[in-house]
């Protein structure tokens, strides 16, 4: 057994451990007809520690030697003209992302296994959690756009299902639908990007491609990145998404999921290079998001919304950094921010007592209440206030789109099944006629939009 085989094995182990653990907990439930918390906890602890060890070795290897690690490919569907593979690969960029996702996944998993003790949804939570981790690993280690796309969908679905974890409250279901629709709409970007890339035979997602401009692919990816990373103008779902159990909020909206879009753009800028219009658009989105999230986030008075807006703003900063080409800074920013935000969200229940302890130690006068007075302050405040309820900005800038979304949500039951069917059909169809497929999809979505708006 040589060194390289060992490293490859470990590379598979990073994603394989949670996959096996997921299988084990599902099988255990099926065989024993009961939920055994202890077993789930042990599976999780074991698989996560394996993942972490494997990630540390692999990423250490990648970072130290400077070469990238081809973990391996796994054929999914092979057709006469093209082959669709699930391919994993770790390189200089993804090393940090993989490492952080293993680390945070482990800690938050451990946190949750204790925090959710005796909850009736214990098993459900951990199944979703495992799927989420698999999704995250496929995104961060994906060697090709198809792999990234699979992971992208996995974290989208689990995110929506965990927001509505307490589904007996209407509020959480409504907010979950909101996130779900933001995902659905923006995820079409990465789907289109995948199809286009396949058409050009450049679905590989690691080595720089220079012979095409690829603006369309970059733009499509940007759309998806904006959705997943809750950037302007699709970001309004994020503050509403804090309905699930605290640990899931922490890992999704503080730690990993919210950074997936930023990772995608990092990749895009490495592989395709950011052309001027894409970079400009990205910086613009980032600036708007930072501005918006700061203004609105400042007036939030509950712990989790406050942190959600803070996340939005910081990811916006990362977008700007990537747009400006400061990729290394963006990676460091991600590492640091993911840790901080996850911790803050896990710790969110402490803020009240921390605050009182603060006053206890330093005296109340130390806490500065400087209420701003005057008409201008008030009107500025009022705009931010209404914004945090209804999203006037979203309405103004995307009036038609918001209405479209609302209709989508209402017609959900009627034709969502349609959409899924169509996408899956498209997916198979596209191998022979990728361009035709994507244009068909666009046409179909367009017809739906216009039909439903005419009806209303």
């Amino acid at each position: 057994m040589n060194m390289s085989f060992f490293i490859h094995l470990l590379g598979w182990g990073i994603i394989g451990a949670p996959a096996l653990s997921l299988l084990a907990i599902i099988l255990d439930r099926v065989i024993r007809h009961e939920v055994r918390e202890g077993f789930i906890k042990r599976c999780l602890a074991l698989s996560q520690s394996l993942s972490i060890v494997a990630a540390v070795i692999c990423c250490g290897f990648v970072v130290l030697t400077g070469e990238s690690l081809e973990v391996g490919t796994f054929p999914l569907i092979s057709l006469s003209t093209q082959e669709l593979t699930f391919a994993l690969r770790i390189d200089r960029i993804s090393a940090f992302f993989v490492l952080i996702s293993c680390l945070l996944g482990g800690i938050v998993g451990l946190f949750a296994s204790r925090y959710l003790h005796r909850d009736p949804g214990y098993l459900r939570f951990f199944i979703l959690y495992h799927i989420f981790l698999l999704g995250v690993h496929s995104i961060f280690q994906g060697a090709g756009l198809p792999t990234v796309y699979i992971g992208w969908e996995m974290i989208g679905i689990t995110s929506a299902l965990l927001i509505s974890f307490f589904a007996f409250r209407k509020q959480s279901v409504t907010n979950s639908m909101r996130a779900f629709w933001a995902y659905r709409v923006t995820d079409s970007g990465i789907l289109v990007a995948t199809l286009l890339a396949m058409h050009h035979g450049i679905e590989g997602f690691y080595k720089p491609v220079s012979d095409h401009p690829h603006i369309a692919i970059s733009l499509a990816c940007l759309l998806s990145a904006i959705g997943k990373s809750a950037q302007f103008p699709f970001g309004r779902w994020l503050p509403k998404a804090m309905e699930g159990p605290t640990p899931s909020s922490a890992i999704f909206y503080g730690g990993l999921s919210v950074h997936a879009g930023m990772y995608l753009m990092l990749r895009v800028s490495e592989v395709y290079g950011l052309t001027m219009p894409v970079a400009a658009l990205m910086i613009l989105c980032g600036i708007f998001s930072v501005w918006y999230a700061t203004i609105v986030g400042r007036i939030q008075s509950d712990a989790k919304s406050m942190l959600a807006y803070a996340s939005m703003a910081q990811v916006g900063v990362m977008f700007i950094e990537i747009g400006l080409g400061l990729n290394t800074l963006a990676i460091f920013h991600f590492v640091s921010h993911a840790m901080l935000r996850t911790y803050q969200l896990l710790n969110a229940a402490s803020v009240m007592h921390d605050r009182y302890a603060f006053e206890h130690v330093l005296g109340r006068h130390q806490v500065s209440f400087k209420p701003v007075e005057g008409a201008r302050a008030f009107s500025r405040y009022a705009y931010a206030f209404w914004e945090s309820i209804d999203g006037a900005f979203g309405r103004l800038s995307l009036l038609a789109f918001a209405e479209f979304l609302a209709r989508l949500a209402r017609d959900f039951e009627r034709w969502y099944a349609d959409l899924i069917l169509l996408i899956s059909r498209q997916f198979l169809f596209c191998f022979r006629h990728p361009v035709k497929a994507s244009s068909l999809l666009v046409e179909w979505v367009g017809s739906r939009v216009f039909n439903s708006s005419r009806k209303g």
């Binding site: 307490f166 509020q171 605290t246 840790m339 229940a349 209440f369 209804d390």
Partner: protein
């Protein structure tokens, strides 16, 4: 600060059962536990036949109801048989799928045929009377039509019996009151209005959490709201647009809110008679926020020093709701929502009730083998049937609940009546005054078991010290029961000779807290947040350690001064009054100190035979990431840890001049060699902290070390006993348990650091000798009281004045939170979110959650508290006469009261109406346990009450 109180405060004037059921209607809550739960408890023997008999014999006559069965017997069987079913679809499904549930009755074809022949006429007779009956009749035709023509009728016995049950039931059935008003409209309104009102309340009532507070809040709630609509030209929801036109009109009425509300109600078209109902609905739509607003309106001191800035008024809140309602009801959105939600189908609900009742009747008759009875003449069938149908789910559950309570009561009283007390005595070595808290029951037991020379007492944990505590930082807080407004201050002052160390410590502490305050909150500006998030990787350390190794995190933190309290050896308490008081609250004069020391000692019956060391042990709890932390602290100290109180009491009691006054005024001679020592018991980590150890006379040092060793062992055993409740702990010996307890109290990921009062059920007021050696499984408040030195019942009055609201409040809060965790309690802790430094809500926008989360009450047995008082009848009655609050509580049955004649004497129930009834203990002798550490190992449920027969 979290204070336990009766959740149904507003219904206290009613008897308990009535109040619970009425409140359930008003709040849309469950009155009792789900029926399934009672049935399970019955299956596990937690509710026995005996308990059911006892309850039924009080409620029902003993006449014959069915051939061979008395009414009581019938009801009892009915309770056990009637399964919880929810709707007619479920009934249909059950009938179709589980045929065996209805045993065959072996009826003859003639009997069935005869009934079939007569049923047409009966249906026709009832036909036009009632809509429900009409539907049932339709169903009936369908049911009978399902029997194929020419089939052997005996094979379809079940179908015919079901038809008969349905028909008979529908004829005597009156549907329960379902008038809940316009449900779809209410829901549509709530969906539109509530998110807005919640956001506004959050912002307006923000005590300083967000980075930018609402400006000009002093103008008042309504004015701020109107201005908010006025200044924003875009962004307000579309349906609010019409409001703009009338803003100036509402503005003019800001000072006449009552009038405005009247006008609004008139505009809404609410009839004079419906006004109360309408306002009640609006108030209860967000009962947490509305309640908080009306609370702080009356107690502006709870606004955290911002009473000049924030002016919440309940009236204005209601006016805002009504204004919004007016806008909402005239909007298109409301109409479309109405369509979407559809109207509640009242008819279906009635049908549900009818089918469930009929199904119960069917099951009941067939399982008794009286199936033929169902085919009986209506006139003979109806009396019993009517009684059974009247026993709807709420009434059944009421009976179940009484039986559930009675089981616990009789087990406890049995032990008190027949259990042998531990009477071992030896030379007194130490006396320990604990709080009455049920959580201290076990540590007292473990401590006393170590040495017969130890004696423990229980008194309210503030030890009579009703002071405002002024910290060195200038922050103050009252450390006394909430009903007392403190008039004295205790100051934290630097200890002589330690000033330098103290200054250094405080500097370190300030640095740490400034930093962590900054990290927690940020400063709100873009640049700041970027810097913060770039430096954020440091937070990996507290995150990993907080989950994996909380104890080492704590140790590391305290190196940097993360502990908010100044170590007790660096400061001392200034209890005495300063002569040059500058208008601030004075300390205590010698005279006042003597009053407090004397009355506490007399209250617990410690008037002679002092041990050389008397410990005063306050209690509190530490936990991490727990917004409800202060619910675990000492209720008698106003939901704060009882550290200061124990320490201050000892300073007073050790003062020779105070002792002299005490002996003069109370004739309690405290020997000069006796020393009082303050300590603090952390009920979560099970650690004990001692104060002013250096003041202990040299002669007592040796003894002190012995006692401390024993206390340490006792806390370990106590932790061991507690840990059996935690399924995840998995500890096997006291040493591990002690470590687990400490880890729990610092653990970031712990949703249940301790179970608090979750096991409370009893409260025993009497001398410790009355309860010593009995195992109450941490379920009893123990209050020390010696009725022989209290002929005037003045001490008892003082005790019950504190015990009834405090222990009763704790008990009822747990009870209601367990009964309906979503309405009365706070739901699951998992999605909780802290808001405005005021409280918690679910997720991003919800009502302010009141009550306790499910994690705190999951092991709780919701029973009313059983108060056992060892005293004479005259004493008890005298107390009840002289305090209307106690009288109301007892008369409503909010607490069950038993009077005891002492060890070996009789026990008397005091009924709500004031009668005394002797309690007759059962035959069986109480359980005896020898080695109880082995006994509770691996058992996480409630243990039986028992007597401890430990061999020394």
């Amino acid at each position: 600060v979290f204070i336990h109180h009766n959740t149904l405060h507003a219904f206290e004037h009613l008897p308990f059962e009535q109040a619970v059921e009425q409140a359930a209607k008003v709040y849309g809550a469950e009155a009792y536990l789900p029926e399934q739960r009672y049935l399970e408890e019955h299956g596990q023997g937690r509710i026995t036949e005996r308990d059911l008999d006892a309850v039924l014999s009080e409620v029902f006559e003993d006449n014959q109801a069915l051939p061979g069965f008395s009414l009581r017997e019938v009801v009892k069987r009915f309770l056990v048989i009637a399964p919880p079913v929810e709707g007619f679809q479920e009934v249909k499904w059950l009938l179709r799928e589980s045929a065996n549930a209805v045993p065959s009755q072996g009826l003859s074809a003639e009997q069935l045929r005869a009934w079939l022949d007569s049923h047409h006429e009966r249906i026709n007779r009832r036909y036009p009377l009632h809509r429900v009956n009409f539907e049932a009749a339709e169903g009936l035709e369908g049911i009978l039509a399902s029997i194929p023509r020419g089939a052997d009728i005996v094979d379809h016995e079940r179908t015919i019996l079901w038809a008969a049950a349905l028909l008979s039931t529908s004829e005597v059935f009156t549907p329960a009151d379902l008038s809940t008003g316009d449900e779809a409209g209410d829901r549509a309104l709530d969906e539109m209005i509530n998110p807005l009102v919640i956001r506004f309340c959050e912002e307006y009532l923000d005590l300083g959490f967000s980075n930018q507070l609402m400006p000009d809040r002093h103008e008042g709630m309504l004015a701020c709201f109107l201005r908010m609509v006025d200044v924003a030209h875009f962004g307000i929801p579309g349906w609010l647009d019409p409001l703009r036109a009338s803003i100036s009109r509402y503005r003019g009425e800001v000072n006449n809110v009552g009038g405005l509300i009247d006008e609004l109600l008139a505009e809404l078209g609410v009839a004079q008679a419906d006004r109360y109902a309408c306002l009640l609905r609006e108030a209860l739509a967000l009962k947490g926020w509305a309640g908080y607003i009306s609370l702080v309106e009356h107690r502006p001191d709870m606004l955290h020093g911002q009473e000049s800035e924030i002016r919440p008024r309940f009236e204005e809140y209601m006016a805002i709701r009504l204004i919004l309602r007016l806008c909402a009801e005239s909007s298109e959105l409301y109409q479309s929502k109405l369509e979407e939600l559809g109207d509640e189908q009242q008819e279906l609900k009635r049908l549900d009730q009818l089918y469930c009742a009929a199904y119960h009747v069917l099951l009941f008759y067939t399982s008794l083998g009286c199936g033929a009875g169902l085919l009986d003449e209506p006139s003979r069938l109806y009396p019993t049937l009517r009684q059974l149908i009247e026993l709807n789910s709420v009434k059944r559950r009421r009976l179940w609940h009484l039986a559930y309570e009675s089981n616990l009561y009789s087990r406890a009283l049995n032990l008190l009546a027949k259990g042998e007390r531990d009477a071992a005595r030896s030379e007194l070595k130490g006396q320990f005054v604990f709080c009455i808290d049920d959580r201290e029951e076990s540590i007292r037991r473990h401590l006393e078991a170590r040495d017969p020379g130890y004696q423990s007492f229980g008194t309210a944990g503030f030890f009579g010290v009703d002071a405002n505590y002024t910290m060195m930082s200038g922050a103050t807080a009252p450390y006394c029961p909430v009903i007392i407004q403190p008039t004295h201050a205790i100051r934290e002052v630097p200890r002589q000779g330690y000033e330098e160390r103290l200054a250094k410590y405080r500097k370190k502490q300030a640095r740490w807290f400034r930093l962590s305050g900054y990290v927690n909150r940020g400063a709100g500006s873009v640049l700041d947040n970027i810097m913060l998030s770039l430096a954020g990787c440091v937070s990996l350390i507290p995150m990993v350690l907080g989950v994996v190794a909380p104890r080492s995190l704590r140790a590391m933190g305290s190196l940097f001064g993360s502990e908010p309290n100044i170590p007790p050896d660096l400061h001392e308490l200034q209890v005495a009054s300063e002569p040059d008081s500058d208008g601030s609250m004075p300390g205590y004069t010698l005279d006042e100190m003597a009053t407090r020391v004397g009355s506490v000692l007399r209250g617990i019956g410690l008037t002679g035979s002092f041990a050389p060391l008397v410990f005063l042990i306050g209690h509190g709890s530490s936990s991490r990431n727990n917004p409800l932390r202060s619910a675990y602290d000492c209720g008698a100290c106003g939901g704060r840890p009882g550290r200061i109180n124990a320490r201050a009491f000892c300073i007073m009691a050790n003062n020779p001049r105070v002792r002299k006054l005490v002996s003069e005024r109370f004739s309690i001679e405290i020997p000069s060699e006796t020393h009082f020592l303050g300590a603090f018991h952390n009920t979560c980590s099970d650690q004990i902290e001692y104060f002013d150890l250096d003041l202990v006379p040299a002669a007592l040092r040796g003894l002190l070390n012995l006692v401390r060793q024993d206390l340490l062992e006792a806390t370990k055993n106590n932790a061991f006993e507690r840990c059996r409740r935690f399924a995840q702990a998995g500890v096997v010996d006291p040493k591990q348990a002690a470590e687990e307890a400490v880890a729990r109290s610092y653990m970031l990921a712990e949703a249940r650091p301790e179970y608090g009062h979750a096991t409370n059920a009893l409260c025993i007021v009497g001398p410790r000798s009355y309860t010593k050696g009995l195992f109450f499984d941490r379920r009893s408040f123990l209050v020390s009281y010696d009725h022989t030195i209290d002929p005037e019942a003045a001490i008892l009055l003082g005790i019950l004045r504190a015990v009834v609201p405090v222990c009763g409040g704790i008990n009822l809060e747990y009870l209601f939170s367990a009964m309906d965790n979503e309405v009365y309690g706070a739901g699951s802790k998992l999605p909780h979110n802290i808001v405005s430094l005021v409280g918690i809500m679910n997720g991003t926008s919800s009502d302010l959650r009141t009550g306790l989360p499910s994690q705190m009450v999951e092991i709780h047995e919701p029973v009313r508290q059983l108060l056992v008082v060892v005293a004479t009848r005259q004493q008890l009655e005298r107390v009840i006469e002289s305090d209307p609050m106690i009288a109301k509580c007892f008369a409503g049955g909010w607490m069950r009261v038993v009077l005891s004649d002492g060890i070996g004497g009789d026990l008397w129930w005091r009924e709500p109406n004031g009668e005394y009834k002797r309690f007759t203990p059962s035959e069986d002798a109480p359980l005896k346990i020898k080695d109880y550490s082995g006994w509770f190992l691996g058992r996480s449920g409630h243990l039986p009450f028992a007597q401890v027969a430990e061999e020394r």
